[in-house]
């Protein structure tokens, strides 16, 4: 009886030792992958940070209005944020690869999913950033053009253009992520449609006189021969 217990204990100890012996190299490999991954991610972050600095990405981000958003959220500058983001994504990738070496059951199938999600995440971020950039550029262009053409409410026009472009880029970005595609599409269509209908009603009903004047100026012969201020700049 005693002998059986001793044998079982010996066998269990042997199994544990074997398991540890099998696990330790994997753990070591994982640690190596994680450390190497950290180094690679760190190098990637430094390279990206330098590239963004050289290409004046922060200025671009400021033009796009992204910097103001980040400031309000007490986040670092765009170039720093993007560098950190790339660092963490890269390191997280290596950590997951390292964990996969351990062979933990139930974890294996999540790793390909994570890597499949990355391109979509980048596309979504890209679309959103350039959407912000485009919204900033076109809203400013509309503001300047309407001020110089002496149109009423230039700020409202500018804000409308900005909102529509941001809404559009958010909906495209979210669709790229694959989150609630139908809901987002529907929400965008409703918001965009309502906005356009509202503007049409406001312009058609509330601003009949303005609409008439605008159309007259645009398509009919100007009544004052274009002599708006009788001053020749050149």
């Amino acid at each position: 009886m005693w002998q059986i217990i001793v044998n079982e204990l010996t066998q269990a100890t042997r199994d544990i030792v074997h398991s540890v012996a099998r696990f330790l190299p994997r753990l070591l490999v994982m640690l190596v992958i994680v450390v190497v991954g950290w180094v690679i991610a760190y190098v990637l972050r430094s390279i990206l940070r330098s590239i963004l600095r050289v290409t004046k990405f922060d200025k671009l981000s400021e033009d796009a209005g992204a910097s103001q958003l980040l400031k309000k959220a007490a986040l670092p500058a765009s170039s720093e944020l993007l560098s950190r983001f790339v660092f963490w994504i890269a390191w997280l990738g290596f950590i997951l690869v390292g964990i996969s070496v351990l062979g933990v059951a139930g974890f294996q199938e999540q790793i390909p999913r994570f890597f499949a999600f990355l391109p979509r995440l980048f596309i979504a971020l890209f679309v959103f950033f350039f959407g912000l950039l485009a919204s900033s550029f076109f809203s400013r262009a509309a503001l300047l053009a309407s001020v110089n053409a002496n149109l009423p409410s230039p700020k409202i026009l500018s804000l409308t253009i900005r909102t529509v472009i941001i809404l559009f880029s958010v909906s495209v970005g979210v669709e790229a992520l694959g989150i609630g595609e139908d809901t987002m599409l529907l929400a965008f269509a409703i918001v965009f449609g309502s906005l356009m209908l509202g503007l049409a009603l406001a312009f058609g009903l509330g601003g009949q006189e303005l609409a008439r004047r605008y159309l007259e100026n645009r398509f009919a012969q100007p009544k004052n021969d274009g002599r708006d201020d009788d001053l020749s700049p050149l």
Partner: protein, 420 residues
């Protein structure tokens, strides 16, 4: 070297048939049939009367007119001039015309220069087809200093209405003078003569961007002459007829002029070394103004300035320093009749715009567009200040603007180097 790629085969053939010339008359046209006939008559009369011995060619670079402009130029012949029938030419006057693409870089002036280079013209005169009141004497006053007195560029001085060309008087003349040190009254000439040497050097430079338009290329040529080792002068031509402009034309005009001037400042070494301005030799009177009363919509100018300052706040904030913007906001609150735009503030504003244009704090085109409402404010202040002024007083006020630009040049230099 001639950029033959911009000249069509047919045009090249016509140029080769002409052979070498002494003088090339250039006309850059686009749907100018209403006025080009008179201009051609005056040109021919001027050539016959004052330069009958010169081998001359008229080259018309047309931007794609559909109103028969090219035919009118081509049809120009000596026999069609009854009022100068007592004159005769010793040479054949060739009139050739070609079309250029308005999308191409360089535009009409570039085509004219390439033709002049090919024909080895020692003198060139370019006349705007809109010069409706051009007289034959203009040709003599422009060409003689270049052909006989070794000038490289002769720009015109016109008798103008006191409220005409306010962008030139309040910004372009003062700033080019402060930057390049030459007191050239019309840096954007509509009729001007220049030497083959200047033409060749200008051709060798970077091609003119296609979007600068007719006047942008002329300004670039003037700036080239002012900043290089060239002999520059100006000649009084007489009255220049007023050309009516609608408010909508201001921004395109500013792009072609202020945009070109700001862009020229990228050549920092050239303008940064200039310490003070010098007068340039002038043939005839240096300035003369027409004092006839003129209806100016001051209310509209004031309203567009005030609205511009208020509505463009986020844009102006990225271009101007806070102190300058605060001063402009205070100006916008002034009632129309008491409106004053101090020269120092105007020069400071323009220089901050120039520095922002250089640093591209926002799109460069947006920087130029944002200056338009502020220019309207300065134009209003000029009109109010000179409502009852004599010619001498107006000249004194223009000089005061120029001196402000000159004295504040170190401020621009500082901003250029350190950034806003």
């Amino acid at each position: 070297m001639v950029e033959e790629s911009i000249l069509t085969d047919d045009f090249l053939r016509e140029l080769i048939n002409v052979g070498e010339v002494d003088l090339l008359v250039g006309l850059d046209t686009f749907n100018d049939a209403k006025t080009v006939g008179n201009v051609m008559q005056a040109v021919r009369a001027g050539l016959l009367r004052y330069f009958p011995r010169l081998r001359t060619v008229v080259v018309n670079a047309d931007g794609g007119s559909r109103d028969g402009t090219q035919e009118l130029v081509r049809a120009a012949s000596i026999s069609h001039m009854p009022h100068v029938s007592n004159l005769s030419s010793l040479r054949t006057l060739h009139c050739i015309s070609t079309q250029y693409s308005r999308e191409s870089s360089g535009g009409g002036l570039h085509t004219i220069l390439a033709a002049a280079d090919l024909l080895r013209a020692s003198s060139l005169v370019v006349i705007s087809p809109e010069s409706t009141n051009m007289e034959p004497e203009w040709v003599e006053r422009l060409v003689r200093p270049v052909a006989k007195e070794n000038y490289d560029l002769i720009t015109p001085i016109y008798r103008r209405h006191k409220f005409d060309a306010l962008l030139v008087r309040t910004l372009l003349y003062p700033m080019t003078r402060a930057m390049y040190g030459k007191r050239l009254r019309e840096p954007i000439p509509t009729a001007f003569a220049f030497s083959g040497r200047l033409a060749t050097q200008f051709l060798a430079q970077e091609p003119t961007p296609s979007d600068v338009g007719r006047m942008g290329a002329e300004l670039q040529l003037s700036l080239s002459a002012m900043s290089g080792d060239f002999r520059v002068g100006q000649s009084f031509l007489g009255t220049r007829e007023r050309i009516e402009h609608g408010a909508a034309e201001l921004v395109p005009a500013m792009r072609r002029t202020v945009g070109v001037l700001f862009a020229s400042l990228e050549n920092f070494a050239v303008w940064s070394a200039v310490k003070e301005s010098q007068p340039v030799p002038t043939i005839g009177v240096e300035h003369e103004v027409n004092l006839e009363p003129l209806r100016v919509n001051r209310k509209r100018l004031h309203q567009m300035f005030a609205t511009g300052v208020a509505e463009l706040d986020p844009v102006l904030r990225s271009i101007l320093y806070d102190t300058t913007l605060a001063e402009l906001k205070a100006l916008a609150l002034q009632p129309e009749e008491e409106f004053v735009f101090p020269n120092e503030l105007w020069a400071t504003t323009v220089y901050e715009f120039a520095a922002s244009h250089h640093q591209a704090v926002i799109s460069r085109d947006h920087v130029i567009q944002a200056l338009a409402p502020l220019y309207r404010g300065k134009a209003l202040a000029f009109v109010l200040e000179n409502r009852d002024a004599s010619g001498v007083e107006i000249e004194k006020n223009v000089e005061a603007i120029c001196l402000s630009f000159e004295s504040l040049k170190p401020y621009l230099l500082e901003m250029w180097e350190t950034g806003k």
